[in-house]
Symmetry: C2
Subunit: 263 residues, 2 copies
């Protein structure tokens, strides 16, 4: 099933919630002795019917070395095939290297979607975009760190994030998306206008203080669900947090299923 179809089905069935899997050994419930795989597998099982996507934050797994990548292989198996699997790796290089990054995302990890950096412009991202049945989410206006993104371009006075949104919208043939932080509601509204057909991935809700966006989008929550309780009831607490966030997303954004799906 294509990533586009999965996203569309997920948004209409489960709603816009995406659960971010960021295993931080220091925050795991004590009874798990810092073992991330079992923890995340329980989280996935407890929330699978509430989330249309799971987002793997590669940095957290890579920081655990070989053990982290083995844990990731186990967690990957536990994610239901109907959920959109987002490989949040934030890669980006010259075109020749991006070919290898795209292979890593879409073939080695068999992810449905990947996140990428636009600092080298949009053209070198072509090897990601060549996977027409997957989704490549380009960082646009992030939940933190806006100094470069907010620079205004001489002549048009357009901010850099807006330039990125327009360039990606112009390039997309249904395989591109944008990352816009929940902490930046004005940018979220503007991007929705600039790129109405593109799916948005919106992190920053919860621990980062962002509000549930009023615009249709895939809303990522990581810490607020994963670490809802540090006790043995962590899975139940995660489910409760996810349910409440899903309900708030659903009431904030009406008609999500239709509007947020790519064309």
């Amino acid at each position: 099933m294509s990533a586009q179809h999965k996203l569309e089905q997920g948004l209409s069935r489960q709603g816009p919630l995406c659960i971010g899997l960021d295993p931080d050994p220091a925050k795991l419930p004590a009874l798990l002795h810092g073992e991330p795989a079992s923890f995340l597998i329980e989280i996935v099982a407890a929330t699978a019917d509430l989330a249309s996507a799971f987002k793997i934050n590669m940095a957290f797994f890579e920081a655990l070395g070989r053990e982290g990548l083995q844990a990731l292989e186990r967690v990957r198996q536990a994610i239901p095939p109907s959920a959109l699997l987002i490989w949040d790796a934030r890669r980006g290089d010259i075109e020749n290297t991006n070919r290898h990054h795209a292979r890593s995302a879409f073939e080695v990890w068999n992810a449905d979607a990947v996140t990428v950096h636009p600092y080298l412009g949009i053209e070198p991202l072509a090897p990601f975009f060549d996977y027409l049945d997957r989704l490549t989410f380009v960082l646009c206006a992030t939940s933190e760190g806006s100094t470069l993104q907010d620079l205004r371009i001489a002549g048009s006075d357009e901010p850099v994030w807006s330039w990125v949104a327009r360039e990606v919208a112009r390039t997309s043939r249904g395989q591109c998306g944008l990352v816009v932080g929940a902490t930046r509601p004005a940018q979220l509204r503007a991007v929705r206008k600039l790129a109405p057909a593109l799916p948005l991935l919106v992190p920053g809700v919860g621990a980062q203080g962002g509000d549930i966006p009023a615009q249709p989008a895939l809303v990522n929550v990581s810490r607020a669900v994963l670490y809802a309780s540090s006790d043995s009831d962590f899975a139940t607490a995660a489910r409760r947090a996810a349910e409440s966030l899903r309900d708030r997303c659903m009431s904030a954004t009406s008609g999500v299923g239709q509007a947020a799906a790519p064309d």
Copy 2:
């Protein structure tokens, strides 16, 4: 030994050559049956006295899956401890995630240096900069993909790459560097003026058509050395290519050892 000290010693002893390790199974000499570790270990052995740094292009290893990471562990052992090990991973995220990226680069892989993206601005890169005895090379003006980097900022008319160079120079306490492509000699000269104390990592020489820079810098060559011959003489050919490039670097840049070392 600190990365700064290694760089200084390497530049004065071996000169400015950095050899990029980008294992592309399709290009390996046939006799190696696509086995990247033995290939790279022979390349490192044949060139170690000519290079002050080795740059690991993570994408190429990650694209080979678990086998690629096992190969990387072997290759890593083969790099002499006196050479600067650059983990060319081009990471970059919010601060909380960058903590894990920095741990991955500097603790899991024990690299001397890492490359990072500035699209989230300079502040969220703090977890990398906290490692004062390592080097964090921020992408500035890359060898390919300049559309975003060349945007001019309203008011000052300064290009984005120049803004990045200034911000990084302002932040550095000896632990920052900049990546500037050899295909962009004008930018290279300008960055050298904006950030005279910062070490520069200059890729794009060789396959990408860039010239040896006339400014002191760490000059990376990947394909032109690795794939100098696809036959059984690949190691000798790599050494010959590296030697010729090293000599051209040495004659192009006089006084490299002093000027390119961080203060």
